[in-house]
């Protein structure tokens, strides 16, 4: 059946070719996944489909007719609804106000017909089993309901195509089940679903067909029945998954360099105890909201632990601030390099020199010291920049991330805390960063790395600690470290490690 078709769609932003001649078809009534790494072009494709940006070349066809979208409103009116991440809600409006924003039901003269909108909202919410009223303020809804309100919005406009952009990033397991139940019913009612996600288990659970994009190009479209997650990963990455860098026996298991006991900061995490030894990378895996970032930030002194103790190289210590942490030999490369990691207004040299100067109580800055340091870090981490005086904004995402990492390596830490160390960087830079991390560890550093990128954790961590709902749920090492085992610990109700050993059949998550 003729559904939605992309024909030779291209879009460039400046010099960056976000989409290059992408063509594929989505059958009407199908659930169709679009997957790819960060920067593969998924979000540009969505924006074109939602009418937010216009393609440079190519066309989109819906039921054999060319769609020329003039804007988001036009897309909605033609039956294409975008369920975006929750950041696209209006926190200051009611649920009903959110559903009808931009297309309110009105009486004469633009007067709002609130009763009609409330009634329609109530009907939609009931249909989606969302137990809130139309007049509930949006900022009081839990994330899952906020997400479903966006679905309700698409339904309110009788959309025949619903596009979901990473809809499950902030949902719990039960909430994902609820959302998927709703989507299954919509699909049964003939709605075409386009599902964009980096979570392959969810893709395999929901979708009939899967399209892979890589670096702005169409790679392949495959039937779920004839493929495996490994095939998809290979298609996304464009090469064989890298060999495991970890477990090379470099760790020295004596006194741990970092030891925390019963660390607690409610509601983020409780009773977390862990050791990190010199020469090892400990992966801290968990879904968004599991408390990983808060744990790292608390270790680094940005928050106070309500209970628990910490020791560095066997010496008990309490850190009250980041600078104390840095002086104690800790370093944290935060998750969001734009907001937390880099100073966009300072050049690469100043960025690289800053934490070290704070750590060493440097008062007067010596330009020569700064230059020497910057040249050394740029060379060590092979940061591609035209000069050490370039601004961070002139660098690619991967090289920005290297600067954000390098400024802390410059402090010569004993314990390196990494929060999503390769978030939003391209594949090549990712492998380089992995090599840098392993290299630092080989030199005797201890590394605790939080990541929700499972292949990454599997690739470079010697041990994997799984965090869920603010607590450690298990430790996985060696041969037990498979995607299924880690995912099960991260996402499901408590299982014992022993219980896991017997149930490593692939596809259990489908």
């Amino acid at each position: 059946m003729a559904g939605l078709e992309f024909r030779g769609v291209s879009k460039a932003f400046g010099a960056v070719r976000a989409l290059d001649d992408v063509s594929f078809a989505v059958a009407a009534g199908d659930a169709h996944a679009v997957v790819g790494e960060n920067g593969a072009g998924k979000s540009t494709l969505l924006k074109i489909l939602a009418g937010v940006v216009a393609p440079d070349r190519g066309e989109i066809r819906w039921q054999d007719e060319r769609l020329r979208l003039t804007g988001p409103r036009d897309a909605l009116e033609r039956g294409i609804g975008l369920v975006s991440q929750e950041t696209l809600a209006f926190p200051n409006l009611t649920v009903s106000g959110n559903i009808f924003a931009g297309r309110e039901i009105t009486r004469r003269g633009g007067r709002l017909d609130e009763p009609a909108m409330h009634a329609r909202t109530a009907a939609l919410l009931e249909d989606l089993h969302v137990p809130v009223t139309a007049e509930t303020p949006m900022d009081r809804l839990p994330a899952a309901y906020a997400q479903l309100v966006q679905v309700a919005r698409a339904l309110a406009f009788d959309c025949r195509v619903i596009v979901l952009d990473e809809p499950t990033t902030s949902l719990t397991d039960a909430e994902v089940d609820h959302l998927f139940g709703v989507l299954a019913r919509l699909k049964a009612a003939g709605v075409t679903i386009i599902f964009v996600s980096h979570r392959l288990p969810e893709v395999f659970r929901l979708c009939d067909r899967i399209t892979v994009l890589r670096d702005g190009h169409f790679v392949t479209t495959v039937d779920r029945a004839t493929t495996t997650p490994d095939d998809i990963v290979r298609a996304m990455v464009g090469r064989e998954p890298p060999t495991r860098l970890a477990g090379s026996g470099e760790a020295t298991y004596g006194t741990p360099l970092l030891a925390i006991r019963d660390f607690t900061r409610r509601p983020a995490f409780e009773y977390v105890s862990l050791d990190v030894h010199a020469g090892e990378v400990v992966g801290l895996f968990g879904l968004v909201g599991s408390g990983r970032s808060e744990l790292l930030e608390t270790i680094f002194g940005l928050h106070r632990a309500q209970a628990g103790t910490m020791a560095i190289d066997g010496k008990p210590i309490v850190v009250h601030s980041a600078v104390e942490a840095a002086r104690a030999g800790l370093a944290l490369v935060p998750e969001d390099r734009q907001r937390q990691g880099l100073f966009a207004n300072l050049n690469v040299r100043h960025n690289l020199a800053l934490p070290r100067a704070a750590q060493r109580r440097v008062r007067a800055i010596s330009a020569r010291d700064e230059q020497n340091l910057a040249h050394r870090i740029v060379a060590d981490l092979s940061i591609k920049t035209k000069s050490i005086d370039a601004m961070p904004g002139e660098l690619s995402g991967g090289n920005q991330q290297k600067v954000a990492t390098g400024k802390w390596i410059a402090t010569e830490p004993r314990v390196l805390l990494l929060d999503e160390p390769t978030k939003g960087v391209d594949v090549g830079a990712k492998f380089e960063l992995h090599a840098i991390i392993r290299q630092q560890v080989r030199a005797g550093m201890a590394c605790l790395m939080a990541s929700s990128d499972l292949p990454e954790v599997l690739a470079i961590a010697d041990r994997i600690l799984v965090m869920r709902q603010g607590g450690l749920r298990g430790e996985i090492t060696g041969a037990m470290a498979t995607e299924e085992n880690v995912m099960r610990l991260a996402a499901h109700e408590a299982h014992s490690i022993a219980g896991l050993a017997g149930s490593t059949t692939p596809g259990a998550h489908a």
């Binding site: 950041t87 633009g110 709002l112």
Partner: protein, 322 residues
């Protein structure tokens, strides 16, 4: 009743009532003497002077709710008095057309702010800071250190339909507040203002014409400032370049004290008018307390902070109780 208690304006009304009760008690006269604060004539005075920035506060609240900011209203008020005065006194136009010319000042400055914010892409602070300078500067250029004396040519003890012209400001303020409260709460346009202020990106994705909505907000802010200017020109009987100096801050403070959030997306025009009255009462009562005159600005400054903190605390408690 529950709905009334939850209305955003309720706490502002409560503050105003408490304030009036306090000054009524504090300024209670000795037996046999008239109350210096609690009397009809004094309340008219409060209304009359509050209206001058209260009217402009309506537009300021709308701009702030839409996620913007307008620093220009004080200067626009001054330029409006000057332009109205120029045509009425210098060019010998009749009052009606002179007033219309004055109102055009508001549309022009609002339009300029909107163009700078929407088309040129300046931040509202910078754009309206510039417009403020342009408007104030234009007023000085037109007057050349003179001023226009409107009072000489306005009727003495002027009554329209049996009502003193003194009531014009308060009546216009209440009427505009009512009209815009309804437009903001019950009409698509108002809902779009809230949506743009709440989340601009989401508004774009929802097909709201964000540029037009912002433009309408700045135009209304310019126009209400110009109405304030006309009222001031008639009440004061002057068109003068240095009038309404620093009013922009009183106007913004009125909106904020009235529950409008500077981050956008939340607020009320009735609240802004109530905020103007809160300051009007303070300004009226403080000089009647011996020795308090010098503390006037200080007390107003403390009051702004105190009221907003109080309001936020109440709001937090209310949302927790939910």
């Amino acid at each position: 009743m529950k709905r009334l208690l939850r209305a955003p304006e309720t706490s502002t009304v409560a503050i105003l009532v408490l304030e009036i009760l306090f000054f009524t008690w504090y300024l209670w006269p000795e037996a046999g003497r008239p109350h210096p604060f609690l009397n009809l004539g004094n309340f008219l005075l409060i209304f009359k002077y509050s209206a001058i920035y209260g009217i402009a506060a309506i537009g300021a609240a709308i701009v702030i709710i839409s996620g913007g900011l307008d620093l220009a209203p004080g200067a626009v008020i001054a330029l409006t008095t000057v332009v109205t005065g120029y045509f009425f006194v210098q060019a010998h136009w009749s009052l009606g057309p002179s007033v219309v010319a004055g109102l055009m000042v508001g549309l022009a400055s609002g339009g300029l702010s909107a163009w700078l914010v929407v088309r040129v892409g300046l931040t509202p602070f910078i754009a309206t800071l510039g417009v403020m300078g342009i408007a104030r500067g234009a007023a000085y250029v037109v007057t050349q250190a003179r001023y226009y004396d409107l009072s000489a040519q306005l009727p003495r003890d002027w009554h329209v339909a049996g009502v003193s012209i003194d009531w014009a400001g308060p009546i216009i303020m209440i009427a505009l507040a009512a009209v815009f409260q309804i437009l903001m709460g019950r009409f698509q346009w108002g809902r779009s203002i809230f949506a743009v202020g709440g989340n601009e990106t989401a508004a774009i994705f929802s097909g709201i014409r964000v540029g037009r909505i912002k433009t309408s907000a700045y135009l209304i802010a310019g126009l209400t400032a110009a109405v304030s200017g006309v009222v001031l020109a008639i009440v004061q009987g002057q068109g003068k370049a240095d009038l309404a100096n620093g009013y922009e801050l009183d106007i913004i403070a009125s909106a904020v004290v009235g529950g409008t959030s500077l981050t956008g997306g939340r607020g009320s025009v009735v609240g802004a008018v109530l905020g103007a009255l809160i300051f009007g009462v303070l300004r009226n009562a403080l000089p009647q307390i011996p020795g308090a005159t010098f503390y006037d600005r200080l007390i107003v400054g403390v009051a702004v902070i105190g009221i907003v903190v109080m309001d936020r605390t109440i709001a937090k408690r209310a949302s927790k109780g939910h």
